[in-house]
Subunit: 410 residues, 2 copies
């Protein structure tokens, strides 16, 4: 079964709002094993909706419309769809009454009457959160589903009324799993699994890069959830053989969630001494509910003086090696460790850019040190992005260092 999502609304074409409905509907259809080949967005214009509908009927079995069911004159999805499939509309007294009831303490505006017109032969999808009913139409082996635009109305209507009807159309389960990696670029990762990407058809593999990390999505089709999981598990074992060192989650978690869990399980407290990242790392850890179980304190030592006063970095080290140096990073991490009841201390000092570059220290350079009572490890980063990209990458790099340390990989 192939589906096409048709989003109606001039506000989408003007870029006023994000099309969250298309994402929601696509995700739900994928879960049901229904392939979406196209998403089309069209304005509140009857002729263009008509054209889009005719076009979609040629290439898809299921058309899901959102928007254009409101009471105003520019709402015309129903009208265009009826023209495309040659159907009339009739006034449904029951719907009219329920719309009337919706206006509890005031009179229904005349324009809302428009919403009580129903395409011939369609089944009505109740709107529990608004006045516009939806419609489910089967016509000439095609299915057309009309949903209202506001997500608060569309989501429950689709979940509660449309999905049960659509499920009867599909007998395949599609299940996805997101495997997340860190510390490796997209092309290098792909090289290691190129044969799987190209030759595997069930599950399929695809890579996605973002925020300085690469995700791998596995998608399996099967007749049951168990069978789909079995396919995913087998592929996961294969991936582990090749790239296990980079994988931090098989479960769509963020790197900070994974670090939080590992620290929490091991009952370890952490603190950060941040210079160029300036609270970004600590804040990402603190975004997780319950962060206080692992996070004790951090210093943001932006000035040289604060590095000396708070983290006990020596003036001599700063003079001899500079604030962005391996030596300073080590003293920062150790200084915080000695000052506080934490088990792991992590420092970052670098040049986020765009200025601040010197002859031998370029934008994107950072030193990251992880120190415990027993040992310390320093790594060097050399990135070349914008200020924000560099700061996020420094943070990811620090998280990856913590992960590797906790897994005893370094």
């Amino acid at each position: 079964m192939k589906a096409e999502i048709i989003s109606v609304g001039t506000e989408l074409l003007l870029g006023n709002i994000l099309n969250t409905n298309a994402k929601f509907l696509s995700e739900k259809l994928a879960e049901m094993g229904i392939d979406v080949y196209y998403q089309t967005t069209v304005g509140d214009n009857e002729n263009r909706i008509l054209e889009t509908t005719i076009n979609a009927l040629k290439r898809a079995d299921i058309l899901i419309f959102s928007g254009g069911l409101g009471p105003t004159e520019d709402d015309c999805t129903k009208e265009a769809v009826c023209r495309a499939i040659n159907k009339k509309m009739y006034l449904d007294e029951k719907i009219l009454k329920s719309i009337n009831d919706f206006f509890i303490d005031r009179i229904m505006p005349e324009s809302n009457k428009k919403q009580a017109y129903v395409p011939e032969g369609s089944r009505i999808l109740n709107n529990d959160f608004g006045t516009a009913p939806g419609f489910y139409i089967e016509e000439d082996k095609k299915i057309l589903v009309l949903l209202p635009g506001p997500p608060v109305e569309l989501i429950p209507m689709f979940n509660n009324y449309a999905i049960p009807m659509l499920k009867l159309q599909s007998n395949l389960i599609i299940k996805s799993r997101i495997i997340r990696t860190i510390g490796v670029g997209e092309s290098l990762l792909e090289e290691k699994i190129a044969d799987l990407i190209h030759e595997q058809t069930n599950p399929t593999l695809a890579t996605y890069a973002g925020r300085g990390q690469v995700d791998i999505r596995l998608t399996a089709k099967a007749s049951s959830i168990e069978a789909a999981n079995e396919l995913l598990n087998t592929m996961q074992i294969e991936l582990d053989k090749r790239i296990k060192e980079y994988i931090y989650s098989y479960n769509n978690e963020t790197i900070e969630e994974v670090i939080f869990k590992m620290l929490n399980e091991r009952k370890l407290k952490i603190g950060f001494c941040e210079s160029c990242t300036a609270g970004l790392i600590t804040s990402r850890i603190a975004s997780i509910p319950g962060a206080s179980r692992v996070l004790e304190r951090s210093y943001i030592t932006y000035s040289n003086l604060s590095k000396i006063e708070e983290a006990n970095v020596s003036q001599e080290t700063l003079n001899n090696y500079g604030a962005v140096s391996e030596e300073t990073a080590v003293e920062m991490a150790k200084g915080l460790l000695n000052n506080s009841p934490i088990d792991i201390s992590v420092s970052v000092t670098g040049i986020a850019g765009p200025s601040g570059e010197t002859k031998d220290k370029t934008v994107g350079l950072a030193y990251i040190c992880l120190a415990t009572k027993e040992r310390h490890i320093v790594i060097k980063n050399n990135f070349n992005g914008s200020r924000e990209t560099n700061r996020q990458r420094f943070a990811n790099s620090a998280f990856n260092l913590i992960r590797k340390y906790l897994l005893e990989l370094i």
Copy 2:
């Protein structure tokens, strides 16, 4: 001029990610006076991209593509577009070298070579943040613009290289101005300017809420930049009369940029003692290039012990009033102020949620204190969002307190 936006990517059809590129491009095109009639999303499939391109060429003058320019085999936007307009591709040695340079300390994977192929007769759009160049193709009175998918690459490429070329296509100037407010809700703000929103046609006004702030967008159409600016200036004066106290920027700046500028002009140093926001405030200030001119140091005092040890909060205060209290906030701010060479110290202590609530202290409660050598001011927040929303709002509230202090409004 009519445009069509074509988003390429199977991850969009699977509902894995939101199509923020289509919104961004639509908004930018609208600002240039270019109408978008359709947005189409298609998967990483050469034949379907080809079909979509041929279809779009029939109904639009400008086609903007995003995605499918990567190094992997399923990236095939360039190939499909070249088939649609009957163009060959050649290997561009200069691009190949710049991609090579991108891999500073490792060897370019062979697959990236694919990105150095250029459609005949196209102009190259530099990618300052990745390896995939974009393309601007004029062919048979149509314009085709090919952009990479990741927003961090697409946005600067479109803004810096594609817009200047596209602007030559339109002869009406559309100029927008974003007026940013803080410390006022959307409905209250709208009440104060409802008549302007409904009656004004040039410029138009619209409000947008996000990240706990409300923006007002003015959009003027005119035959020259000067005439458009004149219309915007007149409306700005009217807005000042009604809501000046909430406006912090007439210029699309963020609140942190405005605070940074004010501190920098006054040569003031600032530091933060953050508990629940845990580095978020400092990090937002540090996201601005040159932040070291105003930012000296911060403490992230997440545990009670760290509040005592770092910020000299007294055990008695914590016992009597709790960590989330006016008294603790004041001691935190004063403690940091006394420890460091800063002019302004700002503390935040609160409950971000979802847990941590007590009988008389609910999630969303925070105390924020601004202290200087001369005085201190405390404000109390009572929000009711998610953990992340609350943390962002606490941060905004702290920034608004600093703004009001610097403007001598409190």
